[in-house]
Amino acid sequence: MKLDTIVKNTGLEASRRFAAPSLWASKRWQGRLSLTLTYALLLFFGALVTLPFLWMLSTSLKQMDDIFLFPPKWIPDPIVWSNYPRALSKVPFLLFFKNTFIITFFAIIGTLVSASLVAYSFARLRWPGRDVCFFIVLTTLMLPHQVTLIPQFIIFRELNWIDTLLPLIVPWFFGGGAFNIFLLRQFFITIPEELDDAARIDGCSYLGIYARIIIPMSRPVLAAVAIFAFQNHWNEFLLPLIYIHSRSRYTLALGLRLFQEQYWVDWSGLMAASTVVMLPVLLVFYFAQRYFIQGIVFTGVKG
């Protein structure tokens, strides 16, 4: 007996014809429901994540008394822009900004130059002991820094570098951090080696290959390294806390704490200052988001 006739005889066909569209409809309905639920959840969590930022901004623009209102006013009335100049003149903010900028700028230069040269050597040049050394780099990647914190402090004390910006800059010229070496090396080995060979045949030196082939081809990953370094140095707190004591050499991170040392906390001033400190990082993130995400993806998934 043919299948069709069985189906007809048992009336299965009718039920199937009936069931099919409803199943299809319920599927679509299900999809819509889950999509709505997704949006609702994302909206809820998104609001939770955004609220602290809005709260900071709102507080930074409030007049003193409005800070202590219940229920809180989210939109300040009047908007007190003068909180910003007031907060920034309360402590020598411009000086702190300059110090932080100097540290961040030179530390990034050190990291980029140093890590890329080392990574180039690991990725492209053949020398005895290379693989052992790279293995050491990978091992140091896992080492938490607390063990070396005190001896490093002693080294810089012997060098009379305490209370200068040098301990926060100079180490980055010595390799630029194991993580960055690793990241750059992983990227460099994906650049076709034929390019090097062609350049060699044309008489290009090793440093020439580094400068004319490897570096120009690695702009995205170098950008990612620079941005991460910027973020780290700008936000760094523990090391300046240990090494810098004079107020004239404070970084922004240390300077913000001066607001805490008063009898009462000037919340609107503190929030204004915090906003200004966060702003450069947020701006860099906004304009370089692509490199940020790429860098994270590269380290998290391929690393």
Partner: protein, 312 residues
């Protein structure tokens, strides 16, 4: 090799000399790292071992005291037990929440939705701005009378606790704060999710698997390496929590947030007990190492690498 020989002949050099020149350049380029490794890492680690067997206040010469610091650490100092306890409680609450929360957000975001990259940015923003400014912001949010958190709780008729000055709530406050940065792990998960081949899902759908089973039997195993990566990174970060605690509570109230790194900092740079602090550093180091190794050991049971299956 053929290329190398041709380069050598082109440059009028014997191949051996070319290789030697390459090795010379290679070693020279690595030198800065090597010097840094010796001066800033290996040397300091050895010095740290030595220091942990001494009493040293930076002013008078270091005095060798044998195992005294370690004995004190294990048998006499109640604060170190407190530090281990609160750090462990913090890590064991913050890490799972971060790992699961990040995954949940990533799964939500990985659907066919609009404004995906904008939403991703919103969630990622908090992890961009770590540091003192963030700690200051949260100090204000946790303010018991006028902080955002208690104002919101007030709307629901709950009178919130004094988060940062109540021994029962201070750790919860730090956990909440760390959850704010969950977008950092979310971004990594998202990348992992996008690497899961769609034909697996299609095949499962044909076989009648619903979305929950698809998640359980396909998504989870496929991104388990990413979960593993996030887990290890979160553990290491959580056990080293310092900035927030130093700025917001200084270890208080009654040492309820005296995290290990904070205790190390106080011993080294406020009490100038360099020897004892070095011993503490090694304790922290081995504690982190032990937990990380435990996760690594467990990984063979739950982390699934596609490469190994293709081989079978």
């Amino acid at each position: 090799m053929a290329v190398r020989a041709s380069i050598a002949s082109r440059l009028n050099l014997p191949a051996g000399r070319l290789a030697r020149r390459e090795a010379l350049v290679g070693v020279l380029l690595v030198m800065p790292w090597f010097v840094g490794f010796l001066v800033f890492l290996l040397g300091p680690m050895l010095v740290s071992v030595y220091l942990s067997f001494t009493d040293w206040d930076l002013l008078t010469p270091a005095k060798f005291v044998g195992l005294k610091n370690y004995r004190k650490m294990i048998f006499e100092d109640p604060l170190i037990k407190q530090a281990l306890k609160v750090t462990t409680i913090y890590a064991f609450s913050a890490v799972p929440l971060r790992v699961v929360g990040g995954l949940l957000l990533a799964v939500l975001l990985n659907q066919n939705i609009k404004l995906k990259s904008f939403i991703r940015t919103v969630f990622y923003l908090p992890s961009v701005v770590s540091g003192v400014a963030v700690a200051m912001l949260w100090l204000w949010i946790f303010n018991s009378d006028f902080g955002l958190l208690n104002l919101i709780l007030n709307l629901f008729g709950i009178s919130g606790p004094a988060w940062l000055s109540d021994t029962r709530y201070v750790l919860a406050a730090f956990v909440i704060m760390s959850l704010w940065g969950v977008g950092g792990s979310m971004v990594i998960y998202l990348a992992g999710l996008q690497g899961v081949p769609t034909d697996l899902y299609e095949a499962a759908e044909v076989d009648g698997a619903n979305s929950l089973t698809r998640f359980w039997y396909i998504t989870l195993p496929m991104i388990s390496p990413v979960i593993f990566f996030n887990l290890v990174m979160s553990i290491i970060a959580a056990l080293q929590i310092f900035n927030q605690a130093y700025i917001m509570t200084q270890g208080g109230p009654q040492n309820a947030s005296m995290f290990m790194m904070l205790y190390l900092y106080f011993n080294a740079f406020e009490y100038f007990k360099m020897g004892y602090a070095s011993a503490l550093a090694w304790l922290i180091f081995f504690y982190i190492l032990a937990l990380t190794l435990l996760v690594f050991r467990s990984s063979s049971h739950w982390v699934f690498y596609t490469g190994s299956v293709r081989g079978k």
